[in-house]
Symmetry: C2
Subunit: 333 residues, 2 copies
């Protein structure tokens, strides 16, 4: 590896001059600058990030905390899409991203961040009630969280209240009155959707019997299937079932078909998330598409502004709208 030292020898100048020339300081003559640059290029010089980080305390490396509740890791469509958009956004600004180790827990999340000296951290997907997450969030490292708000910290949040309202309103507009909701396991997101579901139902004058509310873990096709069977077994079964997410909806659809019922002729279903596969199955899934592209991009932008201009940055919740995707799983009734 060629270092500045090597270049300085070849050029017959000091290391300081090389550094300044390469970093375009104004107190180096134009000719010298060009000369040094040329030699550097010829010698295949590339700066050493460790040395630079050591001196400047800036790594241009961002940590990503990504720990799916179910341990499915990177296979979670919604979060992975956010991550992808986030990655693209920050890479454009010269940052790299490194995963915060979640598997082999020899050090805490915070310790890991200190070790790697991340300039900032994006908390994309995680158990927000974990003590290690708490510790990390209360540290002095710039942080942006997704879908969860911590007081005094920036967050980008998919609008679950509005999302559920739009979805339910759409289903209602298709004539459905007996609507069941299988919600996900308890979390901020779940509570928001649930509250919004009930509020919207009331606004729409819907009567939702208790038996129409079920719980199944997110992305648990079997659990969603079982809940679906229970709903279908009711004396007055719903005409439409809302699911925690698209995957769960797949599970529900299978349970429905096992009973010999058709979708959407006999019963309607709707998912949540808008994963790619949903658009390519038959009938294609009606769902609430979360705008992962914008969410990820905003997380990136916000995090970088927290890092680069900490003073001028207002801490805030950034709320991102989704939209109803009209597939063909919600029939007219």
């Amino acid at each position: 590896m060629t270092s500045m030292k090597d270049i300085s020898k070849v050029c017959g100048v000091s290391i300081a001059t090389v550094s300044k020339a390469l970093n375009n300081h104004k107190d180096i003559g134009e000719d010298t600058k060009q000369y040094i640059r040329r030699v550097a290029k010829e010698m295949g010089y590339y700066p050493n990030s460790s040395a630079r980080a050591l001196k400047t305390q800036r790594t241009y490396n961002l940590g990503v905390l990504f720990a799916d509740e179910a341990g499915s890791g990177l296979t979670h469509d919604y979060f992975v899409n956010i991550l992808e958009a986030f990655k693209r956004t920050v890479e454009e600004k010269g940052y790299d991203i490194t995963f915060i180790n979640t598997g082999a827990q020899t050090r805490s999340y915070l310790e890991h961040c200190r070790y790697r000296d991340f300039d900032g951290v994006a908390v994309v997907c995680v158990d927000f009630y974990d003590r290690q997450v708490e510790e990390l969030v209360h540290s002095d490292i710039p942080i942006v969280t997704v879908d969860h708000f911590f007081p005094g910290r920036a967050a980008v949040i998919s609008d679950n209240v509005r999302g559920m309202r739009d979805l339910l309103t759409y289903v209602h507009s298709r004539g459905h009155r007996r609507i069941a909701y299988i919600h996900g396991a308890d979390s901020h997101v779940t509570r928001n959707r649930l509250t919004s579901f009930f509020n919207t139902a009331e606004e729409l004058g819907l009567n939702i019997p208790d038996a129409y509310i079920k719980e199944a873990a997110y992305r648990d096709t079997d659990g969603a299937g079982r809940a679906t069977e229970e709903l279908l077994g009711l004396s007055k079964p719903p005409t439409c079932i809302l699911y925690p997410d698209d995957f769960s909806c797949f599970g529900g659809m299978n349970a429905i078909r096992k009973r010999g019922l058709r979708i959407p002729e006999d019963i309607s279903v709707a998912g949540y998330d808008g994963i790619r596969a949903g658009r390519h199955i038959e009938p294609c899934l009606t769902t609430l598409v979360q705008d992962t592209e914008r969410i990820g991009a905003r997380v990136g932008e916000k995090l970088i502004s927290l890092i680069e201009k900490p003073r001028s940055t207002i801490i805030e919740q950034i709320v991102i709208d989704g939209r109803v995707y009209e597939g063909r799983t919600v029939g007219r009734v």
Copy 2:
């Protein structure tokens, strides 16, 4: 941030002693060691990776080159599952992973690797004919590639030859004789599957008319749909169609249904990959499941052994078997 210097002051010993104590060198007294360790812990000390890397030339950080051909990035199911398994494996051994910037190309892949001083690189998903990839592969950085073999470098390869053979044999065993194959865009993987398809067909005594061979880009549902329509329009259409991957198969299934045909009663289809969604749709997809878990794990193990014991490590191709998943899209004929 507490440094060794701080600890050394508090303990009244030299920095060297602190370093040795923490790194468990044998020439430090047991009492001193314990004492220093205790103080370090109390002061919340954590080593600085940049400083350490600068000195030791080891970063314990691995680069991941992950550039989906279609720019879909992390949303590619097959590769993302490999990545996940890879990540878990190397994290267990104390390595972190950082993405090699593929979007904002201000520096080449190799330059990026030098900059970050990766101990090694996993090339998971990329255009292997890219000049930058060439450059990287021919450098002195330990590398393991997935699904592509470069002479003199380690590779983990999903057995596409055997996979296609198993799949075709299975389809044949279900009574199909008129079998079409929509293959993906040209690549090593595609060529292997295609060759294997023809060889197996010959072994089985199948006659495959030219019109039964089509091409569509990987994961391109529309393209697969169009190719499917062409196949269906033939005077003697196939009874079974094989697709480049599961997603394409979804596209094909939709095209088939648009014609009013039923799967698998009227026509059979099979995918390739074994993505999660395929198992949860109706009817669930018959496909060749690639063992992403093992592929990712082997990439991790191999890469680490290349790094940690470069001498004793034999460069090799590691071939991983897949297996046919019997869904319900291939009927008996």
